[in-house]
């Protein structure tokens, strides 16, 4: 929303304040300012001039040859192309040396006629849009009761120079009172400690007995009939030439230039006097208004049962649905309540009688209607903020005042006012102590009172209770202010956060996590998870050179399809932007496979992982859990080596973080396999008592889509399964002082025997001197059904030397047990 400093000056005296400083204070105390424009600064050498002679140029339809009095002895010759150039017109004249945009005025000839200046239109001066040149009115040309001489600087006559700043709309969504110049001026007055001048209003007649029927959602409906809308000169002329009415129609009602300029600067286009006045009052007071041409208005009511087409002001036919509030004249709609008026009943430049509406509507209803119709207007966006119903009559009174200045002979009648929703008075009591506690500083009570008073609050201080009784003004109580803290905000912000002394919080408090441990409540992984997650990421990155990826939490149909994978049905997002990514993921690996595809040229070998959320439905409820997904890609390693690498990584993660030594259970027959999982090489990762993850080769079809020459292995570990486990107790490894003896043995095993099936040949053999067994080598001859595995057995005792005989005896035992398990040597 744009604000004009000139306009604000009507209500508050800002003399002696640097504009920049004032705007900075506004940002710090009221609302964010997006942009500041210093307009009209470059307008120089432009003066008031009177066209004393005006002749059509020969051989030209458009050009007039004017003689213009600019206060010099002899009038200037100026050629003018505007249609409204005429004798007697006073307008703005750019003299030699004036700069208007790219144009510098200098003596020239136009179509062979000499011209020593230029008659200016509003657009040339940057103060509006117009077809012709500016027409200065008597009002414009009277300063302090005295007429202005020709040749006077135009800036003395029109407020061309102004500072216009734009308030960020988002920062005042909670401030219905701030959507007009007057409300902004109140804030400025409070910042500066200056009084606020009220806007001038006309006294309104007493309310008429006429009732107006309104539906639910109307907070207040006020309207006034205004007739005999004619300019003063028109009235004079009518009296003079009672018999010559035709002449009267050429006296078009003009919006005063001052208003036009102000409205132009804040972004409001001039339409016609009556429409302009409703907009002017809205921009000033914050109350949207609408003027209906009286001839189109019968018995008014507000209803929400209308259905059908309706042509709005912007010349668009719109579909009105039931439930949308409409202003009805008899049985015909004339406006969409709070949003936009109707085309037929709109005022025109020749309108001379209106019904002026000033109402307050329910914000939710207006927002819904404006969203459905896709029309957001200055009016609807104001109603959405919950306007103060007290404003309706004030706005009408202001409108009448402004109109009467232009048309002194108007007749007002039939003031209708149906005030449905009345807000309760809001009074809040808060002690000085409480204010001090929340602010953390000591703002003097006199300062507190003066701040609140300047914002329009009522304040009483009770000396014995050291307590303020604060009465909230009507324009702040519709939704903005209801509790003590709201009052503290008002005091603090005007006092200025830049004036606050910062002080450290007292450190009496325990760390929440410590407290929780004392209570023995660590029963979820949540508070521990960040440490766990971080450790796992470090292991994967530092030790295994993997890359961390973030994916969206939904499956990407397009990308999966490229790999020949269909989306796995799961919980869907109701309102996703497109249906190709509206289904939440069930595994992290499903997000990572497309990532591997897109990075396939990154390197011959790489690994990617993500720790994120996966979703599923359980008993109709959404189940969300944290999961680690990894995919390894290699064009260098054999598939087997890559697969074994993955087992190493899993062991390292589980061993490091939880002291778990997992085992891998082959489950080729599993029925819950995903499309991308290998039909045969599919393992469940298990701790002693339960499954914690899945390890598998990527399905050959998917793998080939990614890269025919690569091996791809993936695994997924579920945090709910392993993250909650308590870490096994750790202790330092005791090493024997006596020398270690080793024994190498090569096993010849049928390929369908799993290592874990032969492992217990020594693991459970009760050999207490056996320290560890390492794999030295695995050899698989191509085509052979057997593989040879060379193992190194390490023996030692803590208390004494071992003898060779003892080692031999142990190995003999191992050998026998291995033979039982189908191993040859």
């Amino acid at each position: 929303m744009k604000i004009s400093i000139n306009w604000l000056k009507d209500f508050v005296d800002i003399k002696g304040n640097e504009i920049e400083k004032l705007l900075e204070n506004f940002t710090l105390r009221v609302a964010e300012i997006d942009d500041v424009e210093y307009v009209g600064k470059n307008i120089n050498n432009i003066v008031v001039g009177e066209i004393v002679e005006c002749e059509k140029a020969p051989n030209s339809k458009k050009l007039s040859l004017c003689k213009v009095d600019v206060g010099e002895k002899t009038p200037l010759d100026i050629v003018c192309g505007a249609m409204n150039a005429r004798k007697g017109l006073k307008t703005a004249i750019a003299l030699e040396g004036a700069v208007l945009g790219d144009l510098t005025i200098k003596p020239t000839t136009v179509a062979g006629h000499p011209s020593f200046g230029m008659c200016c239109g509003a657009d040339e001066l940057g103060i509006g849009h117009s077809d012709g040149i500016i027409e200065l009115s008597e009002q414009d040309l009277t300063i302090g009761g005295k007429p202005v001489k020709n040749g006077t600087d135009i800036k003395k006559v029109l407020s061309i120079e102004d500072v216009v700043f734009e308030i960020d709309n988002k920062s005042v969504t909670n401030r219905p009172d701030m959507w007009g110049m007057f409300g902004v001026a109140r804030e400025v007055a409070a910042i500066l400690g200056k009084p606020l001048k009220d806007f001038k209003k006309e006294k309104l007649p007493t309310k008429s007995e006429t009732e107006i029927k309104v539906c639910e959602g109307v907070h207040r409906y006020s309207c006034l009939t205004i007739e005999n809308i004619k300019s003063a000169s028109e009235v004079e002329r009518e009296i003079e030439d009672k018999n010559n009415l035709a002449l009267g129609s050429s006296f078009k009602l003009q919006t005063p230039n001052t208003m036009k300029i102000r409205m132009h600067y804040v972004g409001q286009r001039s339409i016609n006097l009556l429409a302009d006045l409703t907009n002017y009052v809205m921009l000033e007071v914050g109350q949207p208004m609408h003027a209906f041409e009286k001839g189109h208005i019968g018995k008014l009511s507000v209803q929400n049962g209308f259905e059908g087409e309706f042509s709005t002001l912007d010349n668009t036919r719109r579909n009105i649905e039931k439930g949308m509030m409409m202003i009805m004249s008899d049985s015909l709609p004339v406006a969409v309540a709070g949003v936009i008026g109707g085309l037929d009943s709109a005022t025109k430049s020749e309108t001379n009688a209106i019904v002026l509406e000033s109402a307050t509507f329910c914000p939710v209803s207006v927002r819904k209607t404006s969203n459905k119709l896709g029309v957001r207007t200055d009016s609807s966006s104001r109603f959405e903020k919950t306007l103060d119903p007290e404003l309706t009559l004030q706005a009408i009174a202001r409108f009448v005042f402004l109109l009467k200045e232009i048309c002194p002979s108007i007749k007002i009648d039939n003031l209708i006012d149906n005030h449905v929703k009345k807000y309760d008075e809001v009074k809040l009591n808060l002690t000085k102590d409480y204010i001090d506690r929340i602010t953390g500083i000591d703002i003097k009570k006199e300062k507190i009172s003066s701040i609140l008073l300047s914002l329009g609050f009522g304040v009483k201080f009770n000396e014995t209770k050291k307590s303020f009784e604060v009465k909230v003004p009507s324009w702040r109580r519709t939704k903005d202010i209801s509790i003590k803290e709201d009052i503290i905000e008002e005091i603090s912000r005007i006092y200025g956060y830049d004036n606050f002394i910062a002080s450290p919080p007292s450190l009496s408090m325990q760390n929440a996590e410590c407290k929780m441990q004392n209570d023995g409540q660590i029963n979820s992984y949540v508070s521990q998870s960040s440490r766990l997650v971080r450790r796992i990421k470090d292991i994967l990155v530092d030790k295994f050179s993997m890359h961390e990826i973030h994916n969206y939490i939904w499956q990407d149909a397009k990308k999966l399809k490229k790999l020949g994978i269909e989306i796995e049905p799961n919980i869907r997002i109701q309102n996703a932007q497109n249906s190709e990514n509206d289904t939440l993921r069930k595994t992290i690996v499903s997000s990572l496979l497309p990532v591997v595809y897109e990075n396939r040229f990154f390197n011959d070998e790489f690994g990617v992982f993500e720790i994120g959320r996966i979703f599923d439905r359980e008993d109709g409820e959404i189940k969300e859990e944290m999961s680690l997904g990894c995919v390894l890609f290699s064009k260098k390693k054999k598939e087997k080596d890559l697969f074994l690498e993955a087992t190493k990584i899993i062991k390292c993660i589980l061993g490091d973080t939880k002291g778990i030594n997992p085992h891998f259970v082959l489950d080729s027959e599993a029925t819950f396999k995903k499309e991308y999982e290998h039909p045969k090489n599919f393992y469940i990762v298990c701790t002693e008592d339960e499954p914690v993850g899945i390890l598998n080769l990527v399905h050959p079809n998917v793998k080939d889509e990614i890269d025919k020459n690569a091996s791809i292995v993936c695994f997924e570990l579920y945090f709910n399964a392993f993250g909650t486990k308590e870490k096994a107790k750790e202790k330092i490894a005791e090493v024997s002082k006596y020398p270690q003896m080793t024994f190498d043995l090569t096993l010849i095993m049928n390929k369908n025997i799993m290592f874990c099936d032969v492992e217990n040949a020594w693991a459970n053999a009760g050999i207490n001197s056996l320290r560890k067994v390492d794999i030295i080598d695995i050899y698989e001859k191509e085509g052979s059904r057997e593989s040879s595995v060379t193992l190194r057995f390490h023996f030692s005792l803590m208390e004494r030397n071992l003898t060779q005989e003892e080692v031999n005896a142990s190995m003999e035992k191992v050998r026998e047990r291995l033979i039982e398990r189908g191993v040859r040597f």
């Binding site: 105390r29 602010t439 953390g440 050179s545 997002i573």
Partner: protein, 351 residues
């Protein structure tokens, strides 16, 4: 005596051409060995007439020492020559070859989160994690966001399908959605941060993402004040940016805080200084000299009450840091889509 001179001459003659340690060893044995020439004479000393014996013995010893030191000298020179020859033979290695250790990479957001977690842990905050699918109550109602607030509109929030058809869950639009649960879980006093993914239903472009990271923080205790909040935010941000930052608070409106603020920091690029052309600020701060960084405020009493916190006794503040934005600032990322783009090359952080 003649014999002695003979040996001496012979030695001088023989040692002359010696060029290797091996040859030198041969000579050492020949002259100084147990059966060497000098020893032979020493052994024969008994046969020398008594009056000559003393003189002879002395001369022999001198000879032995002379030979020995000569051999030692020669040995040193040979060693040195051999070493020089060896060094001359060594290959010169090229350290400028572009070899690099194979290395993985943490996601830039993770880097930021890790840094922040360390800072907050050192300030006594606990670090919490929270789900991504939350209820309407968690995301809105508990945060004093009324039923018809525009934030709840379908165009801003992703709602999940619900089989039962009632109260659909939604993807959390801000990390504030965890406030209520954490207050209920721990009660007051409380200090916690909770980083997490947030979601907004909007079209993505270089500066807009539907999935991004925030980090919420809360501090609730007796007598926590606006003054404390200002102090804390300044201290915390100075740690985050590893330099003293100037901050300012402006009024800001968020339903779950009262008073609410927008916190700005002095632009890190231009420092709020005028440029040479006389214009204030720079493009990154939109010529204001300040960067809007972090909404914050005193937690609204209704929000505390919903979290079962005694508002007569406790007050607190909350703040929300946009981690994705912070990462963009810190790592000079120009397109926000990089973070969820999955391109390893684009996610690597370089010095």
């Amino acid at each position: 005596m003649n014999k002695l001179h003979e040996i001496k001459d012979e030695f001088v003659l023989k040692i002359q051409p010696v060029a290797s340690s091996e040859e030198l060893d041969v000579i050492r044995v020949e002259f100084l060995g147990k059966k060497g020439k000098v020893q032979e004479l020493l052994n024969a000393l008994g046969a020398v007439p008594k009056e000559e014996r003393r003189e002879m013995g002395q001369a022999l010893n001198e000879l032995k020492n002379a030979i020995s030191s000569e051999i030692e000298e020669k040995g040193k020179r040979i060693k040195e020559a051999e070493l020089n020859a060896k060094i001359a033979m060594t290959t010169l290695y090229d350290a400028s070859l572009p070899y690099e250790a194979k290395s993985g990479s943490l996601h830039p957001i993770t880097k930021i989160i890790n840094e922040l977690e360390d800072i907050f842990a050192s300030m006594g905050f606990s670090i919490e994690d929270y789900s991504e699918a939350v209820s309407d109550f968690e995301c809105f109602t508990s945060l004093n966001i009324p039923e018809h607030h525009p934030a709840r509109d379908m165009q801003d929030t992703f709602y999940l399908e619900n089989e039962s058809g009632q109260n659909p869950k939604l993807l959390k639009t801000h990390t504030s959605a965890a406030q209520n649960a954490l207050m209920k879980k721990y009660g007051a006093p409380l200090r916690a941060i909770f980083p997490g993914r947030c979601f907004r239903n909007e079209a993505t472009d270089a500066t807009h993402e539907n999935t991004f990271f925030q980090m919420e923080g809360m501090m609730i205790d007796e007598g926590v004040s606006i003054s404390n909040l200002i102090y804390f935010m300044k201290t915390m941000l100075s740690k985050v940016f590893e330099r003293d930052v100037e901050v300012r608070l402006r009024p800001g409106y968020f339903p779950f805080v009262e008073p609410g603020f927008e916190l700005d920091i002095k632009c890190l690029i231009c420092g709020g200084q005028e440029s040479e052309s006389g214009a204030k600020g720079c493009p990154s701060c939109k010529h204001s000299g300040w960067l809007e960084l972090c909404p914050c405020g005193m937690i609204h009493p209704n929000v505390l009450k919903q979290g079962d916190i005694d508002t007569e006794k406790y007050s607190g503040f909350a703040f929300g840091l946009g981690l994705t934005r912070l990462a963009m600032m810190k790592f000079a990322v120009k397109d926000i889509r990089v973070f969820n783009g999955g391109k390893i090359e684009e996610l690597k952080i370089k010095a």
